[in-house]
């Protein structure tokens, strides 16, 4: 797509001399150019745009899945923890590196008023959890709201399903925390050696598509003096390929 004022380029460009073919299904052919030609293009158009990861291509888009958007914690009873879970899945056929972060808009807050269930500190003492460190939360007298992670690509401090962290609180401008992360480049991709320097090596393998799955379990426990009411909050998940 182009006009006198702009040109949109997609796919792999500026990747060294020669033709490139989609290694998966031969669906496109690109004649690529060397760096000097890119410089020429920049001078004539005023821009150069590259879309996608230049070192691996695949027709599979980056996809984020949540099994459900409501976690019903049921009727909360004092000293009787309640849990609910969401399955998260990230599919990528591209570079494979991705991050999923999470943050709560606020603590569990009574929808009609200002009462809230604060975020958990887990069992407390030596087992006090933080935004970045999960600890055991097994004490029925330890109150609050938090989450645990199990499955692929979850932080290593979630040692078991009894380990929890509090959510970051958007009201306090706390940054979202990483709950899933993979830094693996998709396997089966074998580049040619880079002599001399080329912006992206030619591929001789076929990238493998991959789906990674984890479960986030939300837990709430209240004391006997917690005011009655219906409590709710919004948890915001963000999935993005790494840059």
């Amino acid at each position: 797509m182009n006009s006198n004022e702009y040109k949109i380029q997609f796919g792999v460009v500026d990747s060294g001399g020669g033709k490139m073919t989609d290694p998966v299904n031969n669906s496109y052919n690109l004649s690529s150019s060397l760096g000097q030609a890119v410089a020429k293009e920049f001078q004539s158009n005023g821009y150069v745009v590259k879309a996608g990861f230049q070192y691996v291509t695949t027709p599979v888009p980056f996809t984020f899945y949540l099994s459900n958007i409501r976690v019903d914690l049921g009727t909360l009873l004092p000293n009787s923890p309640s849990t609910g879970a969401i399955t998260l899945k990230v599919s990528f056929g591209g570079a494979g590196q991705y991050i999923v972060t999470a943050r709560a808009d606020r603590p569990l807050t009574e929808i009609q008023g200002l009462d809230s269930i604060s975020f958990t500190a887990c069992n407390g003492g030596a087992n006090t959890c933080s935004l970045s460190t999960a600890k055991l939360w097994t004490n029925a007298n330890a109150y609050g709201f938090g989450y645990g992670m199990t499955g692929q690509d979850v932080p290593s401090d979630f040692i078991s399903s009894s380990y929890y962290r509090p959510f970051p609180n958007r009201l306090l401008s706390e940054n979202a925390v990483t709950i899933m992360q993979s830094s693996t480049i998709t396997a089966d991709v074998v580049p040619t050696p880079i002599i001399p320097f080329t912006p992206a090596p030619a591929l001789t393998g076929v990238p493998s598509d991959s789906t990674h799955e984890a479960i986030i379990t939300m837990k709430a426990n209240i004391s006997g003096i917690q005011p009655a009411g219906t409590y709710a909050t919004v948890i915001r998940f963000l999935a993005t390929p790494s840059f």
Partner: protein
């Protein structure tokens, strides 16, 4: 006559019974065959997964992003937020507001930025984003995430609830340069590993690793320039005349940040913050060299580390076994001498 009335009555009763049975059977069949109800699922994709652009001040470009809804119908909005890199593993932190000199708008006639719209299941929606750089914008990099975000629906019915909102993002990396030349100012900040033992002999440090164990190597690059770079090169493990090379993946290292680089390797480094994991090490002295080029027409930077790979576990087990055997024989010898005397 009486007989006819009785007959009619019987016919009516049998028809009534038959209708009732058919109705009951239909009801049971309907109940059994009703599809089970599922909680609302979110299954979104966004393409392209990343865009990097080099643009002159005063220019404007258009990029089309396609969101696809593979799950249930939902309300969605497109928004753009700046981000900053965090840590050395490619993490990022979103800033709360869209600010800065770069201007964004949607060319679409049916949707606006930060305005929710209904997104039916199994459909795609293209957001045509116009990116405008004002004249005189300073040279440098500006980083954004283009987001497709679901709008949480609050319908609490007497139960405490956590409601999820899902966003999927695509990094947009804008390098502003008037001349077309981007600043390259980078260095290999770290090239190291954790030895099992380390000691000094004279002026040299000897590092010993267990040849039976995996050895993670960390190589990180610091970018001190105004623009992102994509370092390339190799990491080579040499012992004697044997060499094994691993190509560095040309990932983006953003301006004023440091990142652990990755190599094309069959070893799984996803769980470790390492560049490369060496395993099944040959016995002897290894020299591992990183040769990195940060951009075309720049000088290659090189750093080396060396270590001695020994079968430490095997040696330890052997020594312990020898000690036990020696102790056994010494004890027996002493016992015999006592018996003689």
């Amino acid at each position: 006559m009486k007989y006819n009335n009785k007959q009619k009555k019987m016919q009516f009763n049998s028809r009534f019974i038959l209708s009732s049975v058919i109705f009951l059977l239909s009801s049971v069949f309907f109940l059994l065959s009703s599809p089970p109800s599922y909680a609302q699922q979110v299954n979104l994709s966004l393409n392209p997964p990343i865009v990097s652009a080099k643009i002159k001040p005063g220019k404007s470009i258009v990029i089309a992003y396609t969101a696809a809804n593979w799950g249930d119908p939902l309300n969605l909005q497109f928004l753009i937020r700046p981000f900053i890199p965090v840590g050395q593993l490619g993490s990022l932190s979103l800033l709360p507001q869209l600010e800065g000199p770069v201007q964004f708008s949607l060319e679409n006639t049916d949707i606006l930025l930060e305005k929710p719209f209904f997104f039916p299941a199994k459909e795609k929606k293209q957001a045509v984003v116009r990116i405008t750089l004002p004249p005189g914008i300073p040279d440098g990099d500006y980083y954004y995430l283009v987001l497709a975000e679901t709008i949480p629906a609050f319908s609490v019915a007497g139960q405490s609830t956590g409601v999820a909102s899902a966003s999927i993002g695509s990094p947009l990396l804008i390098s502003v340069t008037d001349s077309g030349i981007t600043e390259v100012k980078a260095t290999i900040a770290e090239f190291s590993f954790k030895p099992a033992y380390e000691f000094t002999i004279g002026n040299s440090i000897v590092r010993i690793v267990d040849s039976a164990k995996e050895l993670p190597i960390v190589c990180s690059v610091r970018n001190m320039g105004k623009h992102l770079i994509q370092p390339q090169g190799t990491i080579t493990d040499q012992i004697g005349s044997m060499k094994k090379s691993y190509s560095i993946i040309p990932q983006n290292i953003l301006s004023n940040s440091q990142r652990i680089i990755k190599t094309y390797s069959q070893e799984d480094t996803s769980k470790s913050a390492s560049t490369l994991v060496l395993s099944n090490l040959s016995l002897g002295t290894h020299k591992v060299t990183a040769e990195v080029i940060f951009a075309e027409n720049t000088q290659m930077q090189s750093k080396s580390i060396s270590f001695l790979a020994l079968p430490i576990r095997l040696i330890t087990v052997t020594i312990v076994a020898l000690m036990i055997v020696t102790l056994f024989f010494v004890t027996r010898l002493l016992q015999r001498r006592r018996t003689k005397t």
